[in-house]
């Protein structure tokens, strides 16, 4: 039973989460006995396509159509459906990000496939096909048993550490019969924050709350994040006060993330905030209030003023990096 994965790329190379997805697909294919087929849309160098083989793809289907150089959920879904039908694949996997979450439901609707969204583990085959997903914004997990013939999964980033192997993939072109309706949504403008690590796939995140006292104090967090190579995040009051842009807001009504390291500075740890971040592998809390509830959910804690502690932490990280 073959597995299809949507391998996203940007700036000419595959994102880490695409490699993670290929590997996840390969593990499912190995479980089920079948091919791991990565579908890639838009211009990218042949050498890059080959690279997916080293992460477990047995076949790469490349849709080299200029019209899919820009994202279209409908066109992407059509390509995945065509790939699935061509290879009789029963499992289709995308990332649980804005692209994957836009494409996966369109694929599921067409193939009448049950969906497990936000997977954090391999499917269990013991009793049917069940996938563990995050629910209640990280306050719990649900095992979703899918009974339909075709199954769609969206995978949370940072679930696996992709390992490069020695295998290689067969690269083929996939031609999809697109029509005008597939490109009915016209892109008028794109505003991108360049150079920043995207929050959803960041392995390290530095986050600030109301305890930072104002946007003018974010410099110390930016420096710590820059030194660590971390993405910046913030709590809801910070986004609501427009100290920071909304896309940095994590918590129950913002984004849900699960980085390897989450450094929370001046965030008290309201239940709604914890919901978005408490599946982070390691949590460091810096807060001047020793009673802040966040300390109960933390692995490491420092009591003190953010503006005093954070620069000291940045110095310590610099020293550590220099010694590596």
């Amino acid at each position: 039973m073959s597995v299809i994965v949507l391998a996203e790329h940007s700036g000419g190379s595959f994102k880490k989460k695409a490699l993670e997805l290929v590997q996840y697909g390969q593990k499912i294919a190995a479980q089920q006995g079948g091919d791991t087929i990565a579908v890639v849309l838009g211009d990218i160098a042949e050498g890059e396509l080959q690279q997916l083989g080293a992460y477990g793809a047995t076949k790469v289907l490349h849709v080299a159509d200029a019209r899919v150089n820009d994202f279209s959920a409908r066109a992407y879904a059509k390509a995945l459906v065509a790939a699935a039908q061509q290879s009789s694949a029963k499992v289709i996997v995308t990332s649980h990000d804005v692209i994957g979450r836009s494409v996966a439901p369109l694929v599921a609707a067409q193939l009448k496939a049950g969906v497990a969204a936000g997977a954090v583990a391999m499917p269990e085959n013991g009793n049917g096909f069940a996938v563990k997903t995050t629910v209640f914004s990280g306050k719990g997990f649900a095992n979703i048993a899918i009974s339909s013939d075709v199954k769609v999964i969206t995978l949370m980033a940072n679930t696996f550490q992709p390992q490069k192997g020695e295998s290689s993939a067969v690269v083929e072109k996939l031609s999809v019969s697109f029509d005008d309706k597939d490109f009915g949504i016209k892109v008028k403008d794109v505003k991108k924050v360049t150079g920043a690590v995207p929050l959803t796939e960041a392995e390290l995140v530095v986050s600030g709350g109301r305890g930072m006292k104002g946007p003018e104090n974010w410099g110390v967090l930016e420096e710590l994040a820059g030194t660590l190579g971390a993405a910046l995040a913030c709590s809801r009051p910070v986004a609501d006060s427009h100290w920071r842009p909304h896309h940095e807001h994590v918590g129950q009504t913002g984004g849900t993330i699960r980085p390897n390291l989450y450094v929370a500075v001046g965030i008290s740890g309201a239940i709604q905030h914890l919901a978005g971040v408490n599946t982070s592998k390691t949590i460091v809390v810096i807060n001047k209030d020793p009673e802040a509830p966040f300390f109960k959910a933390a692995d490491y804690g420092v009591v003190g003023d953010a503006l005093e502690i954070v620069p000291k932490l940045t110095e310590a990280v610099k020293k550590f990096k220099a010694a590596q």
């Binding site: 629910v135 009915g184 505003k191 849900t256 490491y300």
Partner: protein, 247 residues
């Protein structure tokens, strides 16, 4: 222009999450149910704004649920909206919920279907896209701004590390998040009016579930926090490297 807003009932954001019946059910004991914040604050309020501006002629609300979901629909009607529909089915399968709504909406000629970007209980964010697929409508996910002029919609949506402005023609399904509108508090007049607004019960189309929750799990408990003083930052970094293997 007719707008359909999809509403779902979820546990309050402060609710303690517990599971019962050998971890196969969510324990609703003592849990207050609310309208999913993304549905209420953004999708519903934007629909009402479009009606107030004269762009929309009617705003309909739909939910999939049993009679216990009605107080939440009445609360939504108190904010505004002309009529509400409750599809009489009980499901936590995203495909089944979308299929029930699609079966209801397919003959209604909605120009715009607005949903929240995800429910805060299952966090799937799949219903809007599934609906678009099932109804063969265009779909824009994770919108932060929606403008409609004639039959053209201009929608800003979240992309990785930024925002994109899209333009397309109706009909259209959009999933909404922060930025689309501002939360409103229902006033007394709205609450009174909601009591007499039509709330029709639609029988289930019998779509059936393609997935079920076989069991729930709680996240593993933290073992306890290790504290460091301001002068022990080197030790903290060493712990992050050696012990947590985070850096």
């Amino acid at each position: 222009m007719k707008i359909l807003v999809c509403i779902c009932q979820v546990p309050d954001t402060t609710a303690k999450i517990q599971f019962t019946d050998n971890n196969t059910k969510f324990n609703t004991q003592g849990v207050t149910m609310i309208i999913n914040p993304y549905d209420e604050w953004y999708a519903l309020v934007r629909a009402l704004e479009l009606k107030e501006a004269g762009t929309a002629s009617a705003v309909h609300l739909v939910t999939v649920g049993r009679a216990d979901a009605e107080p939440v629909i009445r609360k939504a009607l108190a904010l505004g909206g002309d009529e509400a529909f409750r599809i009489d089915a009980d499901s936590n399968d995203t495909y089944e919920i979308a299929a029930e709504i699609a079966a209801f909406a397919k003959d209604q000629n909605y120009d715009l279907i607005l949903c929240g970007k995800e429910s805060i209980d299952y966090n799937n964010g799949m219903v809007p896209g599934l609906l678009a697929g099932m109804l063969d409508m265009a779909y824009i996910g994770f919108a932060t701004r929606i403008e409609v002029s004639g039959s053209t919609a201009t929608v800003s949506r979240e992309i990785e590390g930024g925002e994109e402005v899209d333009e397309t023609s109706l009909p259209l399904v959009i999933s909404c998040q922060k930025g689309v509108a501002e939360q409103r508090i229902p006033n007394m007049r709205g609450i009174m009016a909601a009591r007499t607004k039509p709330l029709k019960v639609i029988p289930s189309s019998g779509a059936g579930a393609l997935a079920t929750v076989s069991s729930y799990e709680m996240p593993p408990a933290k073992t306890g926090v290790k504290m460091f003083t301001a002068d022990q930052m080197d030790e903290l970094v060493a712990a992050l490297h050696n012990e947590a293997k985070a850096i």
